[in-house]
Every structure is written in structure tokens, then in C-alpha cells.
Amino acid sequence: MDTMRDRFAPVVSRLLDEDPRVAVVLAAIGTDGFAGATRRHPDRVVDVGIREQLLIGAAAGLALTGLRPVVHTFASFLVERPFEQVKLDLGHQEAGAVLVSAAASFDWPAGGYTHMAPGDVALLDTLDGWTVHVPGHPDEAETLLRHAVAAGDDKVYVRLSVQANGQALPVDGERFRTVREGRSGVVVAVGPMLDAVLAATEGLDVTVLYATTVRPFDGAALRRATEAGGTDVVLVEPYLAGTSTAAANDALSDVPHRLLGLGVGRRELRRYGRLEEHVAAHGLDARSLRERIAGFLGAAVRV
């Protein structure tokens, strides 16, 4: 199977052909995929070199002239290094852009912590007005990229990962999707966590919601799910554990509820190795998830 990132350049290259507003801004990463598009649209594919502050500042300038910039590099360099530019050049200036990251939380464990960004979504949560898409499959990534570019002048973050589910589901760029229904708890699986969550909850009496657009958080869907599924809620996110607990808490603020946030641990692991080894180390493999979800929900969840 190809990766989400494999889809990025072909999809956005087509959008460059179709829509004269679209521009791509790169910082020496991912340029090969745009070789053809660069020849066709030399003024709308810009590689600023290894300059991530300029990457975001230039995107803001492009947006202020009316273009729709799509900005791409690894998450660490896209969100974390130029964070003040994201806050001011896009947010404060009211300039829109589509930020598309790669490498996710630990897509390249052998590369070490310098190329890991488990805190990207939590960091964007300190800002107002960002839409955040976390696709769980390359087909979903393609759909959500198109949604993101078409979203007027909105500020949109699309988080691409090599972690993916086996099957794509229909995604609409807004709502959570009910994948399974039960009465003894609600589990929200974000993007690439769905397969592990479905395996972990096999035979458990729980509702599983699938979230590929996490900001704005679909609090209404969570609320509806808890009406039949009970107000014990587990969030399983492929980035920093607890990133969405505040949003879930707000959705349930007027009913008694319990919340467990699972995701990538805050402590730096200082290990290389393979992706699966990091998934397991953070307790995000199906077996660990089953233990933690069942433990939190208690005896009633076992049917």
C-alpha cells in the first residue's frame, strides 16, 4: 500500500493544475514529487530552501495576495520550529494556509527524537481557529487534502503518517463516524489508531467512534454516543496522550462522566528501532489498548 505522503504531491499537483489560487511552499523536503508541477507552474511552487521561518512567513504573504498556500515539511519543522510564525503570520494576520506535515509522532524511529512531533496537535490547540485533519488511510488523506485546500481561507493542518488502517472509510472533513455500537463505554479512535482500537475492543460492549477531523472537535457526536453508550469515554490518539481530553470534557460538561486519554507518552523514549516497537512502548498496540480500555471501563464492558 502506498503511504499518505505518497498521495500528497500527486493530489496537490492536480489541484495546482485545476485552481490558479493554489500555491505550494516547500523547504527542501518533498520537492521531488513536485518536479512536474514546478515546470508547469514555476511561480506557484516555491522551495525556500532549509528556512522554516521563511516557509511560514512567505506562505502568509502569498495568502495576503489572495493565493491559497499549501505548506509542507516534517511536523517538527512545520509546526514546532516556526511556531511564532504560525501564531502571528497566519493567526494574527488572519491569513489562511494549509499546513501538511509528514513524519507524525514517530514515523521514523531510527531517526530519533529530532524528527518526532507527538506534540504538534496539542501545540496548535493553543491557537484559535485551526481545523485539524488526521487521516487514517491514504484514500482518506486524499479526500481530506482536497477538503483542506477547498476550505476558503481557513487555517487547516493535515497530519500525514505512515501509520494507517487497512481499509479506508468515507470521511467528510467534519464529523466523527460511528463504527461500532455498545452500551458500556465510548471509545474515540483518531485516524491511524482505528484498526488497533477495533482489535482491542473486539467482544467488548462499547461504541467506537472514528475521528479523522479532530478540530473542531465533534462534541455533538460524542454527546450522542454517550446517550446509549454511557458516559465513560476513552480517547485513543496517535499523538500526545490527553490532547483532546479538554475538548471531550467540554462536550460532556453538564453530565457526570469519566475520561481516559490514551496516546503517545510525554517522556522522551530515547530509543531508535521500528515503528511497531514505539507503538508498543507507548501502549498503543491492540493488546495494551485492550488492557487499558477494559481496565478503565470495568467488568460491565465484557459481554
Binding site: 490558479p20 500555491a23 511552499v25 511561480d43 506557484r44 516555491v46 525556500v48 530552501g49 528556512r51 521561518q53 521563511l54 511560514i56 512567513g57 512567505a58 506562505a59 502568509a60 504573504g61 502569498l62 495568502a63 495576503l64 495576495t65 489572495g66 493565493l67 498556500p69 511564532e84 510564525q85 502571528l88 503570520d89 494574527h92 494576520q93 488572519e94
Partner: protein
């Protein structure tokens, strides 16, 4: 609201009085006035932008990157009719659109909000790229930075990119009041020139010299004018 007939009569001599409306004082420290002549000459003689055409795609852009001490900027915007003179006395108050750092969403004619140093030049680079990509070859993009502001690494990224990229619609004016740490005489122009810019250094109080430098041809290259004014500490 001040009418257009009256705003058009303001001259450079009126600017201290307009600044006085913001501070209650007609004497201003160098920090507040270091940009005054530069901004005046740009708005009076160089920039093709008007209050009526402030959203026109073909307008020239002026991005005030050095958003500290914006009284001179507000005074010029008021003199040229972008903001009502009546707004000036409220400077910095809760109900005023005029803050100690400008906000583009509140100040008519302000292309960017600024204050945090090192953001204007990178945004100006993107603006020049965006205009070029849309075939808008006429508008010129100007940004004003301070000499100390140039220490920000984001500016180095923008300078190093814009020269080789041949962004000849991009212009920077550096108001040099000798406030940078570890400055080297002549270093500002040399730094831009090394990156492929056209560079001129002039007396930042001499309107004719500024005008000549601002309008000097620079085919195929971005252009910087270093406008030297009295040292901040003087």
C-alpha cells in the same frame, strides 16, 4: 471623520503636531521619530496606494515590520487620510484601534500587524511571490525594518532567499539608528549585497536623498535602502 480635502493638505511640517496628539508632547525621542522621514517620503512620493484603493490588487504594499514606536506611521496614515485624525488622541487605549504595535485588522491601510520583530520581511517575500504568481508585475512591495531587528534569523532567511530568487519587486528600507548589538560599520548593506541585492546607504533625514535611493533602478534584483539616522542612544 476628516474629509479628503482637509487630509490632502497635511504636509511634513504637520507630522510633529499629529504625533503630539498621540503622546501629548510635541517633542519625541529618537525611537519614535527615527522612521518619520522614511515613512513620509514613501507615502508622499513613492508608494502608489490611496485610502480609496487600499484593497486594490494592483496597489503598492508597505509592510511596517518594525512595529515598535508606530506613532510616526500612524501620523503619516492620518496625514494621508487612511485613518481619521480624530483617532490619534486615543492611542493605546482600550477603545482605540491604534495600539503600541499596529494590528492590520484594526488599522485601515496597515498591510500587516507587527511588533514581534523579524516577521515583516519574510511576509514581504511571500507577498512579492504571490503578486508575481498572479502576473501583477506593477505593484512594488516595501518593508521597513530596524537595524537591530535585522539580527533576527528570520530576516537572514528572507534576505538570503530573495536575492537569488530575483524578487525585483521587493524593497526593504532599514532604518539604522545604530541600535544593533555587535554591529559592524557598513555591515548592513554588505550583508544584503552578498545575497545579491541592490543596496544604497543614505542620510535618513534627507528627503531628496531618500527619494533618489527609493526610486533607483535595480533590474532583476531586490533593493535595499539603508537610511541612517542619529543613534538611538544619542
Amino acid at each position: 471623520m476628516t474629509d479628503a480635502t482637509r487630509t490632502s493638505t497635511y504636509t511634513h511640517a504637520d507630522l510633529p503636531g499629529l504625533m503630539g496628539l498621540m503622546t501629548g508632547d510635541e517633542k519625541h525621542g529618537p525611537a519614535a521619530t527615527s522612521t518619520l522621514d522614511v515613512v513620509w517620503v514613501l507615502y508622499d512620493r513613492v508608494l502608489r496606494v490611496s485610502p480609496e484603493g487600499r484593497d486594490a490588487p494592483g496597489r503598492d504594499r508597505f509592510l511596517l515590520s518594525k512595529g515598535h514606536g508606530p506613532m510616526a506611521y500612524y501620523a503619516v496614515l492620518a496625514a494621508k487620510g487612511f485613518v481619521p485624525v480624530e483617532w490619534l488622541p486615543g492611542f493605546g487605549s482600550y477603545d482605540s484601534p491604534l495600539g503600541h504595535h499596529p494590528d492590520r485588522t484594526l488599522v485601515p491601510g496597515a498591510e500587516i500587524g507587527s511588533g514581534s520583530l523579524g516577521h515583516g520581511l519574510p511576509i514581504a517575500v511571500g507577498t512579492a511571490l504571490g503578486l508575481r504568481a498572479q502576473g501583477l508585475d506593477e505593484p512594488r512591495v516595501w518593508t521597513l525594518v530596524g537595524d537591530a531587528e535585522l539580527d533576527e534569523g528570520s530576516n537572514h532567511e528572507a534576505i538570503a532567499f530573495a536575492g537569488p530568487a530575483g524578487l525585483d519587486r521587493l524593497h526593504t528600507v532599514v532604518v539604522d539608528n545604530s541600535s544593533a548589538r555587535y554591529a559592524r560599520p557598513g555591515g548592513i548593506a554588505a550583508r544584503f549585497e552578498a545575497a545579491g541585492w541592490s543596496a544604497l546607504t543614505v542620510d535618513g533625514r534627507d528627503h531628496e536623498a531618500l527619494y533618489t535611493a527609493f526610486t533607483a533602478p535595480h533590474p532583476g534584483r531586490p533593493h535595499v535602502v539603508v537610511a541612517r539616522v542619529e543613534p538611538k542612544s544619542a
